[in-house]
């Protein structure tokens, strides 16, 4: 049934990546608020992070030589799959607590599923990740399910 997903790739389902620890600072929130044209003072002054701020805060920081000519860093938390062109799929978030300057958060990503589908222009592979974000003290901040589409 699955022609594109190897047994080795399938064995990645259920794995978790290294937890990422991030210190939230006000100026990053202010920059994000300006770039996204927020309208509320609490975001523009950096008192509180807009919910989607975490998306940027958790993006990978890799040395320059790990960036390809397209500017993308290869996500090592992805098994070998025969389709290479990556598109952002959908994302579902559940928010438990707002984020403020001085918070220290810990994010852990797990690879939850790899699904093969037939798209209108050819085969597609959906890779599903679950992200869990907590404070350093263990308080749940948000959960996110991200889908990445390979074609």
């Amino acid at each position: 049934m699955s022609e594109l997903i190897s047994e080795d790739a399938r064995s990645w389902i259920g794995r978790s990546g290294e937890p990422q620890r991030i210190e939230i600072n006000r100026s990053d929130i202010v920059k994000y608020a300006i770039a996204t044209e927020q309208r509320q003072e609490k975001y523009l002054k950096g008192d509180e992070a807009p919910p989607m701020f975490m998306y940027g805060a958790l993006r990978p920081l890799v040395p320059m030589d790990e960036l390809g000519p397209d500017g993308i860093s290869v996500d090592k938390f992805l098994p070998e799959l025969p389709l290479k062109r990556v598109m952002a799929g959908g994302t579902e978030m559940t928010f438990h607590r707002t984020v403020h300057p001085g918070d220290v958060i810990v994010a852990t990503r797990s690879l939850s599923d790899i699904i093969e589908k037939q798209g209108s222009t050819g085969p597609l592979i959906f890779v599903v990740y679950d992200l869990r974000v907590e404070t350093e003290a263990g308080e749940l901040v948000m959960e996110e399910r991200q889908t990445r589409i390979l074609r």
């Binding site: 990053d28 920059k31 994000y32 300006i34 770039a35 996204t36 044209e37 927020q38 309208r39 509320q40 807009p50 919910p51 989607m52 998306y55 940027g56 993006r59 990978p60 920081l61 960036l67 397209d70 500017g71 993308i72 598109m87 952002a88 799929g89 959908g90 994302t91 579902e92 978030m93 559940t94 928010f95 707002t98 889908t147």
Partner: protein, 138 residues
């Protein structure tokens, strides 16, 4: 933005629309702060010649944020965003003006929750980034 009383809300009621016109400057700043060096968001020659897009690509997650703001700016401090999902169905390019908006799909006064469909439309009126959100009123 004002205080919203959940008992005054009804299914079908719309949230205020807003238009968004990304520029080279706004896309640069957005990709800088999210630390995204993918050239399709700032290098037009590369984007059209190598990745074969018709123009510089407006980030999907930026549209996700604009969807979020439909809800956040509507409810202000009357409630909290508890759930949100979206998916980028079609790409959008620099030069396009996008419109964000939403409509209430469910009101539960007992649980104090309101559900809504939210959208980003292109100039033709096609929904390119649909989503849903749930807020809980205090």
């Amino acid at each position: 933005m004002s205080d919203i009383n959940i008992s005054a809300l009804a299914v079908g009621e719309t949230l205020p629309e807003r238009s968004h016109t990304a520029t080279n400057v706004s896309l640069f700043l957005y990709n800088a702060i999210i630390w995204n060096p993918h050239r399709i968001h700032y290098d037009e020659t590369y984007t059209t010649q190598v990745e074969k897009h018709p123009g510089v690509v407006i980030d999907g997650p930026l549209q996700g944020d604009w969807l979020n703001q439909v809800v956040l700016n509507w409810m202000g401090d009357s409630g909290t965003l508890t759930r949100f999902n979206y998916s980028n169905r079609r790409a959008s390019y620099l030069g396009e003006t996008l419109t964000s908006g939403g409509v209430i799909t469910a009101v539960d006064p007992a649980a104090k929750t309101v559900d809504m469909d939210i959208f980003i439309k292109n100039e033709k009126g096609d929904v390119i980034t649909p989503g849903t959100a749930q807020v809980r009123f205090s």
